[in-house]
């Protein structure tokens, strides 16, 4: 375990140092990621100025929800960059994945350590800003429970969304090229989580509750923080299901990963 942690930080350290070799491009990436994502929020704010609320949610409520989703996604995008289907596809095609299989270290650990896109911190910072604005505007009544639960929710989003990246990365073992449908659930899923789930048609709600349970990661915990009554078929206790949903997603994703790895070793590319 200790060795795993040390190796992980060594591999990550190498990634960060490599990226710092290109300082200017690195800074420009961070800044542009921030601006790009923040502009979505500005657009939303402008729309809400005219319409007031969305399904009873004020701009503050929405910013809180979107900020939480963005922070989680930004962090996930950083930690799980190795599994990001676009990057992982390149990795497999260039034979770098084979190189990793030739090293006497757990393969998932190596994939985690193979890419760590620090520029994606731009998205995390942007999420923090929006979250801050939201928490202020929505006048959240902070309790000890909420303060303690917030990091749990954040980590759950990281793990749950990371699971989707792992699934998308695993599909590369069959397709070699990234599968576009995966982006719909990862990037699309993140967009979707930025709004209350109730604004969507029933089938979308059902899909993101029972098939890919993103609703447990952001919306349901959000109700707890914002002191809102649940509108779905779930009693308030489900606001605390986030870590369980995330753990289950991550567990299943890595089962699939192991299955995909077996397939890769029997077919090559």
């Amino acid at each position: 375990m200790r060795r795993t942690v040390i190796l992980y930080f060594k591999l990550i350290g190498i990634q960060i140092r490599s990226q710092l070799e290109y300082r200017v491009s690195f800074l420009m990436d961070v800044v542009s990621t921030f601006i790009l994502n923040f502009s979505y929020f500005v657009a939303l704010a402008l729309i809400l100025e005219r319409f007031g609320t969305v399904a009873g949610w004020t701009l503050g409520d929405l910013a809180f929800l979107a900020g939480l989703a963005e922070m989680g996604f930004g962090l996930m995008d950083l930690v799980f960059s190795g599994f990001d289907p676009d990057g992982f596809s390149q990795f497999v095609r260039l034979g770098k994945f084979d190189q990793m299989l030739l090293r006497p270290v757990n393969i998932s650990l190596q994939v985690f350590g193979s890419r760590f896109l620090v520029r994606r911190l731009g998205r995390f910072v942007e999420g923090c800003v929006i979250f801050g604005i939201g928490a202020g505007l929505a006048h959240i009544q902070w309790t000890l429970g909420k303060v303690l639960y917030l990091p749990v929710v954040l980590l759950s989003i990281v793990a749950g969304m990371g699971a989707l990246f792992v699934v998308g990365g695993t599909l590369i073992f069959w397709t070699v090229q990234p599968v576009v449908v995966v982006n719909i659930v990862t990037y699309g899923g993140n967009e979707l989580m930025s709004y209350p789930i109730t604004i969507y048609p029933r089938w979308i709600q059902g899909f993101f509750t029972y098939v890919i349970p993103l609703v447990f990661l952001n919306y349901l915990p959000g109700l707890y923080f914002l002191n809102k009554p649940g509108l779905l078929d779930f009693p308030p206790i489900f606001s605390f299901a986030a870590p369980f949903a995330a753990a289950l997603m991550l567990f299943l994703a890595f089962q699939f990963w192991r299955f995909g790895l077996k397939h890769y070793q029997s077919t090559g590319t």
Binding site: G95, L101, L102, P104, Q265, G268
Partner: protein, 336 residues
């Protein structure tokens, strides 16, 4: 009996390839009712290697060389057959197994592109859990043998191809592998750089008794380094034995180049075939199995006035090319 380093029995790898026309209709049909074609990349390959052997693994493109290497390194699971390397099954105990082998792929890098060479080597020390003392002494030895000092602190991306290959070799050997796979280690290098690499791997093979499997298209590598060769074509072994024996059996005609006093009318005679003539220069070819060089020269001297001569043997490269092109090994050897 000393156990073998590598023991391969009836190794077979079959790939399923999507079989469809490359038009839209064909692609759609493939989605609905997929059809596959079986492709045998490697078929019933058996061989064994002793500790410390240095063997050349040859074959034209698509012969199944890299598929075999992938199975021997544990990257690929065979469809049938057995592989035992140093008592282990490569794809079953991956992490334990790969700690004992090393691999250099000339076309790929195992180093971290943007970092100084030394940082990559130190990271490999952690990945392979190489004890500090071992790491130090190995690094010192390789630094001297491969002359790494001049670029140890430079980022890998700035190295010349020759420098990079030297760094790759060092990287692959820091953990004292018992078995080393070399795939095109001299590709794209100039004569001096090639020679340096060859001398180094020969040293490793002799001093450390590292078993080495070399795949390359550069037959001068093979000639220089390997006594034994295994030749593969269409997934099957065509030949497994001494390079020397192979050359003796399949070498084409030897040539004799002559410089003559005047320009006589030249003819073919007595097993001597006239290849070309140009004024006082002439080239004859003869089958060295039935005629010795001395006899050939004597016969020519009886007929013509020779000032100068040169005997030319075909290169190993030509011999091996002849074997592939004319499928010489597919026919049973005469008298069997």
């Amino acid at each position: 009996m000393i156990p073998k380093m590598i023991d391969v029995k009836h190794l077979t790898k079959t790939f399923r390839q999507a079989d469809h026309k490359r038009d839209l209709a064909g692609t759609l049909r493939q989605l609905v009712a997929p059809k596959y074609r079986e492709i045998k990349a490697v078929e019933d390959v058996s061989f064994s290697l002793d500790r410390g052997e240095f063997v050349g693994y040859l074959g034209p493109n698509g012969a199944g060389k890299s598929t075999t290497i992938k199975m021997l390194t544990g990257l690929l699971v065979p469809s049938a057959g057995e592989v035992l390397v140093d008592g282990m099954i490569p794809w079953k105990q991956r992490t334990q197994y790969v700690a004992r082998i090393g691999a250099v792929f000339g076309q790929r890098s195992s180093l971290w592109w943007d970092l100084p060479v030394i940082d990559s080597l130190e990271l490999l020390q952690s990945l392979y859990k190489i004890p500090a003392q071992r790491f130090k002494s190995n690094l010192a030895e390789y630094r001297a043998l491969l002359q790494l000092d001049e670029f140890l602190g430079s980022p890998v991306r700035s190295l010349s191809l020759g420098q990079r290959m030297r760094a790759e070799l060092c990287a692959a050997l820091l953990h004292d592998p018992k078995l080393l796979f070399l795939d095109e280690p001299t590709i794209g290098l100039d004569v001096v750089a090639k020679e340096r690499i060859r001398r180094f791997v020969q040293h490793i093979n002799r001093e450390r008794e590292t078993t080495i499997i070399l795949t390359t298209h550069d037959l001068s590598d093979i000639e220089r380094l390997c006594k034994r060769v295994i030749i593969l074509d269409h997934g099957r072994i065509l030949y497994d034995g001494l390079l020397q024996t192979l050359v003796e059996r399949f070498e084409g005609e030897h040539l004799i180049r002559l410089t003559l006093v005047n320009s006589p009318q030249l003819i073919a005679f007595d097993g001597l075939r006239l290849v070309s003539s140009d004024g006082i220069q002439a080239v004859y070819a003869y089958d060295h199995h039935s005629l010795s060089g001395a006899e050939a020269l004597r016969k020519l001297q009886e007929k013509y006035e020779v000032i100068d001569f040169e005997l030319v043997r075909p290169s190993v490269e030509e011999t091996i090319r002849r074997i592939y092109e004319e499928k010489l090994l597919l026919e049973p050897p005469p008298g069997s």
